[in-house]
Amino acid sequence: MKRIYVNEQWCLGCHLCEYECAYANSGIAGMVRALKGKAIHPRLRVEDAGDVHFAVNCRHCTDPVCIKSCISGALTKGKDGVVRIDRQKCVGCLTCVLVCPYGAVLSSPEGHAAMKCQLCTDNGRDMPNCVKYCPNGAIVYEEREAAR
């Protein structure tokens, strides 16, 4: 399946992907209207440590520990390989946040349910918005294999 991969060496740490993510999932038309003056809650995050910058999204793991650990069966892996959360079933215990080795499942601001990257399959986009608008190709959306 296509997943999001990081080309760390090309990331400047501009955080545009975080804005694009928050925008894509806001359900509001117009980026300024959606985000201006608001605290944003993107489903990915950029790490900055000195000269090192890179974006962290859900890896959509082959064997996702979040799904195994979910106490309500709210997390599932679709036939397309995308790990999704059913926010109606989720009770917000955050066990998925505790087990995700990437720190890629996040608690949401309203607290009731967790949130995560679903590769923009749930918001009407044709591809992950973070990748689409990354100016440097520091995150890409493609097929790759596991490292040997």
């Binding site: 997943r3 991969y5 990081v6 080309n7 760390e8 790490e47 900055d48 440590a49 090192v52 890179f54 962290v56 890896r59 793991c61 082959t62 520990v65 195994k68 650990s69 106490i71 309500s72 069966g73 109606q88 079933k89 009770v91 917000g92 215990c93 955050l94 066990t95 946040v97 505790l98 087990v99 995700c100 080795p101 990437y102 720190g103 890629a104 499942v105 996040l106 608690s107 607290g111 009731h112 790759r144 294999e145 596991a146 490292a147």
Partner: protein, 412 residues
């Protein structure tokens, strides 16, 4: 006599995961799942959220109704397995039927321990808090004039309190330990959560115990008297290991099972709250009666039952749980040196020894906690990461570039 290639005793999380494990190896062999409770698998920890009104019976199903048929699993619910014959490879059920198995998984869970307290059998309104049926029975008698006594300040007792607090007049909680959640929190953490619970009306009687009941009055060891209307006992669980024991299998604190889920009896596996796991942090065989552990163990057992090869080698104790918005994450054991951060609203304690992370407590600090759990489960030498940076903030920038590349520039 009917015979199934796979028979699973118990229809909860370990059973569901075993079905998934079996199907990852064998698309054909029919599976029989026999559950004592008259319902499909549900998220057992959800019963307190049900009483809180944060979920409902339909949403509590662990898998959709069609899951079982889609995975070639026949369900027989409301039936109890009475005996296993490991020589003839049969199971006899409470309705008298005998069924043959190729491979058998015992995933019978655990049951609440009944504390042997004088007069307890004469308490009329007495409840456990383990099953959907327990929650529904308790719900029926909740009302704004009722006084509740909860014996046990562990995860189950306190989640029960959270579920019912707004629906009763008062709630007292008694525990033998000198702090709440003694199995998962240290004193600092326990005090913080205790305050949050007291703010919602919980009255704690710690380092104390019920000496005897006389009707609806509990007499404590300290001499205090507590009148109550409803009693909830939550003082621990016992594994349902008798079937294996009576069949001649090894049972220690739970059913002895190896990393593949095999018991000491041929073609019989065990998983979930009835079975022991090898705790990778403490280095001991323990019953890790935790939902994620049941899933992981069940899946591994299923894969091996179907002829695949898989081992469960990183079992650890961990918990993520909230009480009225105070969020608690814990893992491992609290040994060695400690790094702590304590504010009015949050608490972090990381415990490390012999160059690896051994345990942690995070109160109201859920952000990216999984990075700490990764260090713990994989026993990553702290010399291989920037632990100084990790102490204050869990991040992948503290891992070596090559490790980052393997994880973020390749499939995982």
């Amino acid at each position: 006599m009917k015979k199934y290639p796979y028979v699973i005793l118990g229809c909860s999380v370990a059973a569901v995961a075993a079905i998934e494990g079996i199907r990852s190896e064998d698309r054909e062999g029919r599976i029989l799942v026999v559950g004592e409770e008259p319902c499909r698998a549900y998220g057992r920890p959800l019963i307190s959220y049900y009483l809180l009104g944060e979920t409902d019976l339909a949403r509590m199903d662990y898998r959709p109704e069609e899951f079982y048929e889609e995975h070639g699993a026949d369900l027989r619910l409301g039936v109890r397995a009475e005996a296993v014959d490991p020589k003839r490879k049969t199971v006899t059920f409470s309705d008298g039927e005998k069924i043959g198995y190729g491979k058998l998984l015992v995933a019978t869970g655990s049951r609440p321990f009944d504390p042997p307290i004088e007069g307890i059998e004469r308490v009329k309104e007495r409840f456990s808090f383990m099953t959907k049926a327990d929650a529904l029975a308790l719900e029926k008698v909740l009302s704004p004039e009722k006084r509740v006594l909860i014996v046990g300040a562990g995860l189950i007792g306190l989640k029960c309190f959270e579920g019912i607090a707004a629906r009763v007049k008062s709630a007292a909680v008694v525990d033998l330990a000198d702090r709440i959640l003694p199995s998962v929190l240290d004193h600092t953490g326990a005090e913080m959560v205790q305050k949050a619970l007291e703010a919602r009306g919980a009255a704690f009687y710690l380092a104390d115990a019920v000496a005897k009941f006389d009707g609806n009055t509990a007499y404590l060891k300290s001499g205090k008297e507590l009148p109550f209307d409803l009693l909830v006992t939550a003082v621990g669980v016992r594994p349902n290991a008798e079937l294996v024991k009576e069949a001649g299998g090894e049972v220690r604190r739970g059913i002895a099972a190896d990393a593949c889920g095999r018991t000491s009896l041929p073609d019989i596996y065990a998983a979930g709250d009835c079975a022991e796991s090898f705790d990778a942090v403490s280095g001991e065989n323990r019953v890790l009666a935790l939902l994620p552990n049941a899933n992981m163990q069940g899946c591994i057992a299923g894969i091996n039952m179907a002829g695949g090869k898989a081992k469960f080698e990183n079992a650890v104790a961990f918990n993520s749980i909230g009480f009225f918005g105070t969020h608690v994450m814990t893992a491992g054991v609290y040994e060695g040196e400690a790094y702590t951060e304590h504010t009015e609203r949050s608490y972090k304690a990381l415990f490390y020894k012999e160059g690896v992370l051994k345990g942690f407590i995070l109160i109201n600090l859920p952000e990216r906690a999984g990075i700490y759990l990764k260090l713990l489960r994989e026993r990553i030498p702290l010399s291989e990461v920037d632990f100084t940076a990790l102490k204050t903030s869990p991040a992948w920038s503290a891992f070596p570039p090559a490790v980052r590349k393997r994880n973020f520039a390749a499939e995982v």
